[in-house]
Amino acid sequence: MKAGPGLLTICLITGLSAAPALGSPAITHLAAERNGDTFEASCRLEGALTPDVEEEIAAGLSTSIEYRLNLYRKRTAFFDQVVVKHRIECTTRYDTLTKQYTLTRRLDGELQETRVTDDPAAMRGFMTELHGVPLVRAEELQPGEEYYLKAKSNLGLLWRFYLIPWPRDTDWERVDLALTGGKGVATQP
């Protein structure tokens, strides 16, 4: 009886902490490429559009996926410096009458792109793939310094033990920035 509350607490913590892994969404193919004088980021989000999410989208619910891209400069003996922070929000809304997806993408709150398509694959690609997201101009980076890009995605909430909301986020994915013009690609999860 005495071990009851402690055991319950352990199970609760274990269950809650294991919650993100259960949905298994993850950032893959994270890359930071130099395109001309600008570094651009690209990535994919795997496991985000579960059947439940697909059903919600098909029902016409506005669904959003948020990406966070942070560019850091490495520093020794201190916290790394945040050079750039970007928040990209991809939203889709399906019109059951017109059978069209209205897709919007906002960068740091500003509308970047609006698309209309009736192709579900195009919608999935729009929601789970980022290409050519401008990070920073190459001249703004200091030569000889080491930079790296971290990315994660916020997918809203999931519910643990039916009633406990838990953020359905991916882990932070990291890739080093190659200043020499090469291409930095994150390891596959």
């Binding site: 029902a59 619910l61 506005s62």
Partner: protein
Amino acid sequence: MPHNPERQEGKPVPRVRIDRLVRSSVLFLLLVFVAGYFLLRKATNFSWLYITNSVLLSSLFLINAILILTLVTLLMRNLIKALVERRRGILGSRFRTKLVFSLLLLWLIPSMIIFWSALHLIQRSVDRWFNDPMDRLTEASQQIVDTYYGEARKRGAAFAREVARRLAEQDVARPQTRSAIHETLGALLREYHLDLVALDLGHDPPYVVVDPHVPATGNLQDIPANLREQAFRGEPFVTMSDYHGGMLIRCGHPVRASPEGPARAVAIVGVYVPRDLARLAASVSRSDQDYRQMRTQKVQIKRVYIMVFALITLVVLFSVTWIGLYLARRITDPIQTLLHGTREISSGNLDYRVEVDAGDELGILVESFNRMTAELRTGKDTIERRNLELSASNRELVERRRYIETLLDSVTVGVVSCDRHGRVTTVNRAALRLLALEHGLDLIGRPLPSLLPPEGGRAIDELLGEAFAGAGQSAVRGLELSIGGKTCMLAVGATSLRGDAGEPLGAILVLEDLTDLMRAQKIAAWREVARRLAHEIKNPLTPIQLSAERIRKKYAEKSRDLDEIVEEGTAAIVSEVATLKNLVDEFTRFARLPAPNPVATSLQEVIAASLSLYNGVHSKVTITPICDPDLPSVRLDPDQMRRVLVNLLDNAVEAMGGQGSVTIEARRDPSGSVRLEVADDGPGIRDEDRDRLFLPYFSTKKKGTGLGLAIVHRIVSDHHGRIRVENNRPRGARFVIELPTAAA
């Protein structure tokens, strides 16, 4: 100054704070229920997007979590507090815990039943909303719309393909005038009975021709750029957009110069769905969309309901716990304050007042407590005041007692006080000296008679008896005591001490040493006796001397009447000698008066025997005896007492001049002694003679020896009695003899 325990210790919660908490909780509950009501209203309006919003759900979860934590904290705090207070012995902790948990249990069971019932009802209700018939109905409705719009889209796509082919054949992309393009498009519109035909050459705004029955093109939305790009990439597109309340289906198809060539332009064909039909389709589609959205949010809806009901249940439980605590405090706080008050009162702080604003029976209790405290305060003040008064009075009494003791010790008269049983309570120094009692002897509490020689003890005992029986009158007696080998004469007066109701409390005895006075009086008396005796002897000696000298003279003269003279002279001498002899006999008789021989004697008989001597002797004198029939027999010497009566009767008859009335009365005195009175109606006794009346050889008569009343006094004294003379009413003298009961 009244204390305020709430301000002093801060234990009891002020009522203002409690009321504020109650008002806040009521307001909070009201807000929660209003929010719940609007939430349910929203739920019935099927705006589930709002309800299932993550923020809302998270907020509900947060509120529930806070409530659970607060509830658990509150209960745990209360439990711990109760345990601590129980260990400290604070009153009310057990009651508070019991009340709170009883209320909680009382409400927990029905709340949980209602909660689970509501959950079950929600589950079933929500599941019933999304049943198969409803699915089929909405799906069928949507399929109708989809079919209609699908056909329109197909038709539009087909016409777009056909128009694109015709425009490619006419090489419409070549440079030509705008009116020419419009004319070509108009011809196609009319030929195929289309609602809209447009041509997008990519660099200019599209050329658009609309059928006249279709509303004007002012509000025609641009085709999304990605679709135009898609079309120029060679892929046809279909897009639908609202148009003047109706629906415009626009289908785009690339216009190629050759089948494999690039798209030089995009032919667009529009099919217009009229307003009524479009609205109907939109309504059906919106309903289907809402339904499908709701179905996807089915779990969320349940979750919202569960959280709302959990919130309500928790609020109820929280409120019950709070109300329980409030009620318990409302009861225990006054009790704690009262307990504190009783401790203050028991510690002597009678100014303490309990200030608890309670309107029920506890209020009455508090009011009674305060009244009791006030009365205690008043009582204590009165007692303290009385105590001061008593202390002052006691001090005064002590001073007075010391003064009296000093006074008593200073006076030469002995003073002894006894209780009602004759036990000594106080005795002064003079009394100790007179009674030859040791100073250090513990006399207090011992019977006074036992401290004296037997005859003195008996006399004191009798005197005390007389004093107690005398109703406040003093009993006085002369005592001749032989103490310490010396004989002393004491005059002892006893006065009974009585309480307010007349009950005997004791007696006070005043002892006066009369030894020296009596000795002086005796010397004076004997001197008077000697003077009178000499006078009495001298009186006959003068005639004797004169007779003898006359005889000797006549004899020397050889007088002729010598014989006569001798005869007369000797006769006179003989007569005077006889007088002298009589005088000497009387004196001898007085001097040799024997000691009385008391025997039980009837006083009536003594009186009768005395009166018998006077039968027929004095015809003009009336002697009336009055005897108490209950008169007891008296221990006395009857011969001496008879002589007393005869002497008194003789005096009375002689004083009346042989004519008058004499009364002899014998009765029992209220004090217990026997009182014998002889009263006549003669001239009475002068005041100046009264003091010397009983002295030997004092007489107011010409032929009296002056020993009669002295013998009477002597006999009465020998019987331990007293004799005094008073004026008789209306005239005459009255001799009063009191014989003590001990002698009776």
